[in-house]
């Protein structure tokens, strides 16, 4: 890309690999997504491994004394962030289904996920 292409949208993929609590990566990843939405790029989110837990319904963080940020995923639509891909194998390994998640997602197999990654310009992995 040259400076002259600055106005053209790039494909950004945010890869979420970690459980929502226990470390700050998931929360701070979401903060990048929200700020990044203002840049009008072509944004997708991928959830792999324990990252699928970020989207589960019924999160209760009172005992941890940290903020439950899962409702924020429901606001992503207002930011035109609508492409959420969840790894099928990761869901199944954890006994989860798409119906257990707080937002509509596209469940894709690892091979399809690899194709999605291949098609990106920028991948931010958290």
């Amino acid at each position: 890309m040259t400076e002259g292409n600055a106005g053209v949208a790039k494909k950004f993929l945010y890869v979420n690999r970690r459980a929502p609590y226990g470390s700050i990566y998931a929360l701070e990843s979401l903060e990048v997504v929200l700020i990044g939405a203002a840049f009008e790029q072509d944004v997708s989110l991928a959830f792999l491994g324990d990252g699928v837990y970020q989207l589960t319904k019924g999160q209760d963080t009172k005992g941890l004394e940290v903020k439950n940020f899962s409702p924020t995923f429901r606001a992503l639509e207002d930011y035109d962030v609508t492409k959420l891909y969840v790894e099928k194998e990761a869901l199944e390994a954890r006994g989860l289904r798409a119906a257990d998640l707080v937002v509509p997602v596209e469940v894709v197999g690892a091979e399809r996920m690899a194709e999605i990654m291949e098609a990106q310009d920028v991948i931010l992995s958290f």
């Binding site: 890309m1 400076e3 790039k10 990044g36 203002a38 840049f39 920028v122 992995s125």
Partner: protein
């Protein structure tokens, strides 16, 4: 090629900052351009001028500062991540009513937009972390 760099881990605990540093040094030596180095998560701790590592060890922070001075690198520490972890420049210290500041030379504090912009402007954004 024009590279953007993201460093997601702090110094010493994790090798990410060392690897990023070596990558940047090697890229510059080959004539590539480093558009920006962005420090996020605990990576912001690479920007504290108060580290005093043992004399027989590398000085991770100073090494970044020196490389920035030599090559006019843009080292950006995320403001939101920095505020959580107690990293601030003089202006931020004043704004938040704190009695000290600790940002190392060559670093500046700015927003996450600088990371997105690096992704847009660079040919490759390379992430260093776990």
């Amino acid at each position: 090629m024009k590279f953007g760099i993201l460093v997601n881990e702090g110094p010493y605990t994790h090798e990410a900052s060392d690897t990023a540093f070596q990558f940047v040094k090697a890229a510059l030596a080959k004539g590539h351009e480093i558009y920006r180095v962005f420090f996020y998560h605990d990576g912001v701790n690479n920007g504290t001028r108060l580290t005093v590592p043992p004399q027989d060890d590398r000085n991770v922070v100073k090494r970044w500062s020196d490389l920035a001075a030599e090559h006019k690198l843009d080292l950006v520490v995320c403001i939101a991540a920095a505020q959580r972890r107690g990293l601030m420049d003089a202006a931020e210290a004043k704004r938040n009513g704190k009695d000290a500041d600790n940002l190392a030379p060559g670093f500046r504090i700015s927003g996450l937009g600088q990371l997105i912009e690096a992704g847009i402007q660079a040919d490759r954004l390379v992430v260093f972390g776990d």
